[in-house]
Subunit: 242 residues, 2 copies
DNA sequence: ATTTAACAGTAAGTTCCATCACTTTCCCCT
DNA sequence: AGGGGAAAGTGATGGAACTTACTGTTAAAT
């Protein structure tokens, strides 16, 4: 049995969101495209012909609401698959927007090609289904976190997920290796910037977190966050933000 | 172009959640089990060996939170697939509880058998993936509805989805053909019974809904509900509660 | 027919959270 | 070095939603 620390210590290599075989297939039928900071790979509602796998860089997936509010659902990095929900769909339009937070490269894979390839290779089908099903599980745990413990629950669980996905070890705790503005954190939680600011101030006062000079958050007491929201210790492959 | 009325008029046959081929496969490798009112087909956390397809009856899928709160996520009927998220999973435990609201029968399908069958028949794989992906889309629209317009948004969107899934035509609007207590409606919305009661009272006062003697809700002005929450008219195969 | 239990309905008080309005801090730019 | 813009931080206020507490209603149970 590994402790969470040991699991996290594997560092950047701890995530293998898609299997090596699946990745190989995707690479073989895809083409590389550069993605540039603050641009978008695609926008919600656009017609979808391709799906993407991230090679490097960071991509934020979000949904826009009618009233102008934005809901951030995922933060994706190397080996994450995005745009996948348009696969096997009758009217393939992107459901989310993909904003580039850090530049890098993606593999662009033609939807039809991929569909055919998947259907021809049952091992890959297996991997793909496994990935999809896992993704759905994350989503169900997320919906609970966001709804069932108020805004505090939403923020704390977001912080926990960010640590699980982007936390690096630090002598005082876990450092979340991407910086977000208060507004962005609020968009994860369907809360306001001011509420998030106040909650972070309180956590800082209680010495549960600290904010670094570059804006990154250091979580000093992860267990406190978990306790406060009645975290049931779901596995790290579910409790993340990818 | 069909109007929503025309689509709904197709009545009970408007939903074909899974394709006839997929259904045939499932039936051929499954066995029948009777399900009895107020019982459970399975509970959250139990080890999962089978998945189920509903033949008749009504089944409610819900997630329990640490603080005792319950979140109802789906209401399933004939041809709906449940327990599906344990497929292709490493540690197959049910993520939701399946409570029987109306007695009936389910087809019990062994997980391993189904996995093998799916991998051997790519046409079925295709259908299955399509179903999964569609399911994920529903979920994303749901998370937006529940989070982005307060409790009113959550309740109104729940009513709209119930009409889309269980609405039958009525001279004054759409009658939701299952009855729920205020508490149950609250559990759909992550709200309290009292809040739901007040919102329903307000809708009744404005003559937008009416409550029948058996507790069923008659939605007299569906467009009002849609307008109030900035409904973007997503298709009926997404905006439902199955 | 009366009791009981479950649910609906309402009101008052409290807490949570969004909104508004502003100041302060940070950091980029020339 | 100083100015401008973006983000952080904070207080006041109001409204939304939860809590508590109670009454009214219905339907089943004895």
């Amino acid at each position: 049995m590994q402790s969470q620390a040991e699991i996290l210590l594997k560092g950047k290599h701890r995530d293998e969101p898609i299997s090596p075989q699946l990745r190989e297939l995707l690479e073989s039928i895809g083409t590389i495209r550069k993605i540039e900071k603050d641009g978008y790979i695609f926008h919600e509602g656009e017609e979808a012909h391709d799906i993407y796998i991230i090679q490097s860089g960071i991509v934020q997936m979000s949904k826009l609401a009618a009233n102008g509010k934005e809901l951030i659902l995922r933060i994706c990095k190397k080996n994450d698959l995005i745009g996948e929900l348009t696969l096997f769909s009758d009217n393939p339009a992107f459901l989310l927007s993909a904003k580039i937070l850090e530049p890098g490269e993606v593999i662009v894979i033609n939807k039809d090609k991929l569909e055919r390839a998947l259907l021809e290779n049952s091992m890959l089908t297996f991997e793909f289904m496994k990935w999809t099903s896992n993704h759905m599980r994350k989503f169900q745990s997320k919906i609970r976190d966001l709804l069932l413990n108020g805004k505090k629950g939403a923020l704390y669980s977001t912080l926990i997920r960010l640590v699980n996905s982007y936390g690096i070890e630090h002598k005082d705790g876990w450092l979340i290796n991407i910086s977000f503005t208060n507004q962005e954190l609020a968009n994860f939680c369907a809360a306001t910037r001011e509420s998030v600011n106040r909650m972070l101030a309180e956590l800082r006062k209680k010495d549960k977190i600290a904010v670094m000079k570059n804006g990154e958050i250091l979580v000093k007491d992860l267990d406190y966050l978990k306790d406060e929201i009645g975290c049931e210790g779901c596995p790290i492959e579910i409790c993340n933000i990818n």
